[in-house]
Symmetry: C2
Subunit: 209 residues, 2 copies
């Protein structure tokens, strides 16, 4: 990104580096380390499994009911904290922080490791689809009219590398009644690896109460 | 699935319930429990973060180099053990076990929880894309001619529910030179939630050596 483009603040939740966010960041490190270690590792996997199970039990004992938690997740500012792409509370998310630009588009960068692998050394095509679907949705929110994905078309131009900083960007193209057109890309350096065209429908499911 | 349809064996790695697979299964439980607990939880998150960091450090100390690990991952039977959809070594994977059917199609079932949420109580559209991209790829492998995703089109027919057993199925439609056409769906009960059409190209990246 050019330094001349000013960010207009994050569109995604900023990790707190404490509380659940710190625990989730550590969980991401565990996920990657398990894949790096593999079955041939000299690590004591039985002990690792026991320690992780203990952590899960501790968390489960202190968790609210699923119904209570869903209400809480969808209240107020909570909505960007738990999704599987940008959420600081979701260990599956790389995470991909996104920010809005004055030209109406949005952009973010992330470097993906082994948990996101498809072909050897490359990002899984479905992971690229996940990142783009979400980023197109956030671009709609940034543009002011958002909705649910109706049709999403992904074009894979070249392999998307792991271990390299990727840029993900998107912008709303048009709004025609309830139909929203949105496009986006994943780039490695200046090269477009994957592009996406989305047709979104301006409707929203009710939030749990 | 009808009981009259005979499975012809799994197309995906079967978890061992020991070694790294058991540790990964416990890590999945931690990921879900962190999301269920959230920031309002009475759980001692600083302690949870410390315990997870210790586990990550132990694993990292015993891991091979990235280059060695990539060679090992892609050797022999390893290829289905680590992907983010079916892999028993990948905590991001739900996992979705897939099996081939005599009619040439493949099918699997999975129930997705909070880590895979998009709209309230529903599967993230990008997660559906991830599952379908991968399942279409495995359908190609089952049919005998596989490749890399060229174009993938997803149609979202209705919200895909969390916490309900979903069926994911796919089949190769045609092979024309290097162009492979493949389709698939995600169903909740008998209702199609998401359908996918893929154009794959019969080419493969070299395995790391």
């Amino acid at each position: 990104m050019s330094d001349g483009i000013l960010a207009r603040g994050p569109l995604t939740a900023t990790p707190d580096n404490e509380g659940v966010d710190a625990a989730v960041a550590a969980a991401r490190r565990v996920i990657a380390a398990l894949l790096h270690a593999g079955n041939g590792s000299a690590a004591e996997m039985t002990d690792v499994a026991a320690r992780l199970t203990e952590v899960a039990q501790h968390l489960e004992e202190h968790a609210p009911s699923r119904e209570e938690r869903l209400v809480d997740m969808w209240a107020g500012e909570g909505v960007t904290r738990h999704d599987p792409v940008t959420g600081p509370e979701n260990a599956i998310a790389p995470p991909l922080p996104l920010r809005g630009l004055p030209d109406g588009s949005i952009v973010g960068t992330a470097t993906l490791g082994l948990p996101y692998q498809g072909p050897p050394g490359c990002v899984h095509g479905g992971v690229s689809a996940l990142l783009l679907d979400h980023t197109l949705g956030v671009a709609n929110a940034w543009a002011g009219v958002s909705g649910m994905t109706g049709t999403l078309t992904l074009r894979y131009h070249r392999p998307t590398p792991l271990f390299v900083e990727l840029t993900v960007r998107a912008r709303q193209v048009s709004v025609d009644g309830r139909k929203i057109r949105t496009t986006g890309e994943i780039l490695a350096g200046d090269e477009v690896c994957v592009s996406a065209d989305g047709l979104f429908i301006d409707k929203h499911l009710p939030r749990p109460r």
